[in-house]
């Protein structure tokens, strides 16, 4: 298979078939927390893409050239967390200056990207699978795109059901969780295709 085709397939596989939120259940906190409005969902998704891409790149280098050289693989979790936290902080500093409105809209969820387990999950997953740099980037960007897709779809649905006549007991978070479950079932349709 040619390079580009496998690249596209890798992204589709990571984004849709093994969707990080809906089939691996990582990163549920921002998925439920920031999916009230499509615009903030897009902002959150994009911020996650930026953080995941940058953190995968840096963690790959650190893992390959520092940790594995010195036989310190057991330090992965703490080192990766350190790097991710620093990158999130960096993104926050830049956003605050360049896009204050998005910074305000994301609010507390921006620092919470640090604890978005999708970010750490991707970094550790690709380190454990022994991917090379290209595959790591494809895998991580694909996963992040999958997060963006999931959160934007969720926000779209939530905007539509906002003013619907929802039974009292289901108002608020319960109907959102039901929606997430139905979305996960829909994404099961992709399983086995790749």
């Amino acid at each position: 298979m040619s390079g580009i085709a496998s690249c596209v397939l890798g992204i589709i596989s990571a984004a849709l078939v093994n969707n990080v939120v809906l089939s691996r259940f990582l990163g549920l906190c921002p998925f439920l927390g920031v999916s009230k409005k499509t615009s903030t969902a897009v902002g959150m998704g994009s911020a996650v893409i930026a953080v995941i891409a940058a953190s995968s790149f840096v963690t790959f280098l650190v893992n390959r050239y520092i940790l594995e050289r010195l036989g310190l693989e057991y330090l992965r979790t703490i080192v990766f967390i350190l790097i991710i936290a620093a990158l999130v902080q960096a993104v926050e500093i830049v956003l605050k200056k360049k896009m204050p409105s998005l910074y305000k809209a994301l609010g507390v969820y921006l620092p919470l990207i640090t604890t978005n387990c999708a970010v750490l999950g991707v970094a550790i997953d690709s380190a454990q699978k022994g991917y090379d740099l290209v595959n790591t980037m494809i895998y991580s960007v694909g996963t992040a795109v999958g997060f963006l897709v999931a959160i934007v779809i969720m926000a779209g649905i939530r905007e539509r059901i906002e003013h619907n006549d929802i039974p009292e007991a289901f108002k608020g978070m319960p109907i959102v969780l039901v929606t997430a479950g139905l979305m996960a079932i829909a994404f099961v349709g992709f399983s086995g295709t790749l």
Binding site: V79, L82, I93
Partner: protein, 270 residues
């Protein structure tokens, strides 16, 4: 040896990260309104959330940028905030939480043994709002003490007691007390009615040794008409009270208490 290398790796990465963030923070510095910092310095800094904002920082920026009401923080230096914002604010009246019940375990009786969750909000659902004979009184499980960030409330002999010095009047305890026993009163208030029972005098007598029986002697003796009795319970209008102390002398139940009096203060830090 291995542990030293591991520690060194972590240390080097941390320092690198720290330097990077420091440089970034400097390059992308956001100019904030200098007043914001000054207003922030006048606030209590305890992030209690009593003002309704996420914390003192959020409230300070809301005052400066969004024109929020600058008088929401009871323990702030309001005159100073007024100066910074160029508006005249009345100097802050320091408030303090006051528990309108004196039914400690020694003074009231228990109708039955309560074995459920030790939380007033749950005890409130039990018959007579808890085991104590008085259905208006303090349940004594300390839900108010639990939410207090300032360690200003203690349960002493089954009764919530406020440490007036520590209280910052954030109002959280007022919101959680299921019996609505806690009220914010001026710190300088001299007298208050330490009971909330609306029951008739005879019932109050049988339930608690120190309960307001609604006799009305205090309201008759009060020279300024600050005391009113409604539903067999006296209450003092603190704006009219002149601290003459006549009501305390007359009160047969001893339920009107002198505040700001060390000897009568129920709160003895243990």
């Amino acid at each position: 040896m291995g542990i030293l290398i591991a520690a060194a790796v972590i240390a080097i990465i941390s320092v690198a990260v720290g330097v990077l963030l420091g440089v970034l923070n400097d390059r992308f510095r956001v100019e904030t309104d200098p007043r914001e910092e000054k207003v922030r310095a006048c606030l209590a800094g305890s992030n209690c959330g009593g003002c309704g904002y996420a914390g003192c920082d959020a409230y300070a920026s809301a005052i400066v940028l969004e024109g929020a009401d600058p008088s929401l923080c009871p323990s702030s230096d309001r005159e100073e905030i007024g100066k910074i914002m160029g508006v005249s604010l009345a100097p802050s009246v320091r408030l303090t939480a006051f528990v309108k019940c004196s039914g400690s375990c020694a003074k009231t009786t228990q109708d039955y043994s309560y074995f459920d969750e030790k939380d007033c909000r749950i005890a409130y659902l039990a018959p007579r709002h808890g085991a104590k004979s008085c259905s208006y009184g303090c349940c004594g499980f300390g839900t108010c003490a639990l939410v207090c960030q300032f360690d200003a409330i203690r349960i002493i002999d089954g009764l919530a007691v406020v440490d007036r010095e520590k209280c910052q009047a954030c109002g959280k305890c007022v919101g959680v007390c299921p019996n609505g026993l806690i009220e914010l009163i001026p710190y300088d208030a001299s007298y208050a009615v330490r009971c909330s029972s609306h029951a008739k005098g005879k019932l109050v007598r049988s339930a608690c040794q120190s309960g307001c029986i609604g006799c009305g002697l205090c309201s008759r003796v009060c020279p300024t008409g600050a005391i009113s009795v409604a539903g067999s319970l006296a209450s003092i209008d603190q704006t009219k009270c002149i601290a003459c102390g006549e009501c305390v002398k007359k009160c047969p139940a001893g339920i009107i208490v002198k505040l700001n009096d060390k000897a009568a203060d129920l709160f003895q830090p243990s």
